[in-house]
């Protein structure tokens, strides 16, 4: 049973090396791997390394269902294989988070805000935050450009900026860490079935608990990141036109014909 204990500790070393949270109190001589359970350990190490290689070669964003499926035995491996597009160009796998900010001068604040919210809703987005005349919305990334262009037609664009943050590496790291954690947990479950000593059982269960928490945390981070990728952020500040005071307003243009055009004049003359 001591072998199982060695296996658990070595497993901790392996998962820590793979990017999981290291536990300082676990330390063991690597010689233990030569014992009878070394095959199981070798399998764990091999699984983690293979996962890393597979994830490195190509990946796509996992759906929430796929993330949930990682809990199932071998499902993680299946998901990894799904993400291993070997012939794709690196550019096509780039994962970007789009954000944009517009400042627009509009004739009427209320109607402009209503139009903007209608547009966002029609595209399947939602209002995330509203602060004075600034509306921050989330829209599906695929509609990002079109929403932005249509919003610009609401008035005069005073300022605009947009940003695309590349999170491919971050996503890849999280995926590898998740894969490794799931693989390690699966191996621990196998060891748990073989364990008979109470101390070993407790140690394996403690480590299983830690790994499960780690898996949930990594899945949460992946979900958050993928949510940011799937839904772009557009914030728009609507400005009312500068109020023309009597003092600053010229009463008449120097050019006679210009004095005879405009909404006020047209309404007056019809």
């Amino acid at each position: 049973m001591k072998h199982i204990g060695f296996c658990v500790v070595l497993l901790l070393v392996t998962t820590s090396c793979a990017g999981l949270a290291p536990n300082a109190h676990h330390s063991l001589s690597m010689a233990a791997a030569r014992d009878s359970d070394s095959e199981a350990l070798a399998g764990i190490v091999s699984a983690g390394t293979d996962a890393g290689r597979a994830s490195s070669s190509g990946y796509t964003v996992l759906s929430p269902e796929a993330l949930d499926d990682l809990d199932q035995p071998d499902a993680g491996a299946a998901a990894r294989h799904d993400n291993t597009g070997t012939d794709e160009e690196p550019q096509s796998r780039r994962l970007l988070i789009y954000t944009a900010h517009l400042t627009i001068r509009v004739a009427n604040l209320d109607s402009a805000e209503d139009r903007f919210l209608d547009l966002i809703e029609a595209r399947g987005g939602y209002l995330e935050r509203r602060e004075n005349n600034t509306l921050t919305c989330r829209v599906p990334a695929i509609d990002f450009e079109e929403v932005l262009e249509e919003t610009k037609t609401f008035g005069t664009v005073i300022a605009q900026n947009r940003e695309a943050q590349d999170v491919s590496r971050q996503h890849l790291d999280l995926s590898i860490r998740l894969d490794n954690a799931v693989a390690a947990r699966d191996r621990l479950l196998e060891l748990l079935e073989k364990a008979t000593d109470v101390a070993d059982l407790l140690e394996v269960e403690r480590e299983l608990k830690r790994l499960t928490e780690e898996i949930e945390r990594l899945k949460g981070e992946l979900r958050f990141l993928e949510g940011r990728i799937a839904l772009s952020t557009i914030s728009v500040t609507f400005n009312a036109p500068a109020r023309i005071t009597q003092r600053s307003r010229r009463f008449f243009s120097r050019f006679e014909w210009i004095n005879r055009i405009g909404v006020e004049y047209v309404l007056d003359q019809f």
Binding site: N108, P241, I244, F255, I258, I261, G262, L267
Partner: protein, 176 residues
């Protein structure tokens, strides 16, 4: 004697007319160089007033269309007048520019000349409501005489948006 002087008078009149006639005809021709303003309003618009220098039309839901031509003693070009118009409407009256684009229409008696134009779409809150305002500005290609044509469309909400495409097509029929 009397008949002789009468004959002499008619001869003199004829002689004067013969001299002055071509000049009068030339003046009349020159005066008629400025073609009357013409535009075919879109379907659904009723012409309220029409003269050599203006066409006033309205739709049943109070969308107002007004085309006018103005003499331009300064003979300014399109850039100058576009800029003057923008400054007046945005800087002085608080209009919001929504979009702008270049336009071209034929003009003159034989429609052989092309006038450069500019369309600007604004919104403004006035009389307690939000109005959309489309103004198309054309400047005659021959700037010596200087002539400006302005077509304005005023309306509110969806009614304005509905007629916009038809009015834009009508504006391309402007001759002045």
């Amino acid at each position: 004697m009397c008949s002789i002087s009468s004959k002499s008078f008619s001869t003199q009149v004829v002689a004067i007319l013969a001299r002055v006639g071509p000049i009068l005809a030339l003046l009349a021709t020159l005066g008629g160089c400025s073609s009357p303003l013409r535009m075919t309003p879109p379907e659904g618009f009723l012409i309220l007033e029409e003269s050599r220098t203006e066409i006033k039309a309205a739709s049943s839901d109070s969308i107002l269309l007004w085309a006018r031509s103005f003499d331009d003693p300064y003979a300014g070009d399109l850039d100058f007048w576009s800029s003057a118009l923008y400054n007046e409407l945005v800087e002085q009256r608080g209009y919001t520019l929504i979009s702008e684009q270049p336009l071209h229409v034929e003009q003159g008696a034989d429609h052989g000349q092309v006038s450069a134009g500019r369309e600007m779409l604004f919104q403004v809150t006035t009389h307690g409501a939000v109005y959309s305002y489309l103004v198309s500005l054309f400047v005659a290609a021959e700037a010596d005489s200087g002539e400006i044509c302005v077509v304005e469309l005023v309306g509110q909400g969806e009614g304005f948006d509905r007629t916009l495409d038809d009015v834009r097509r009508a504006i391309m029929t402007v001759r002045f």
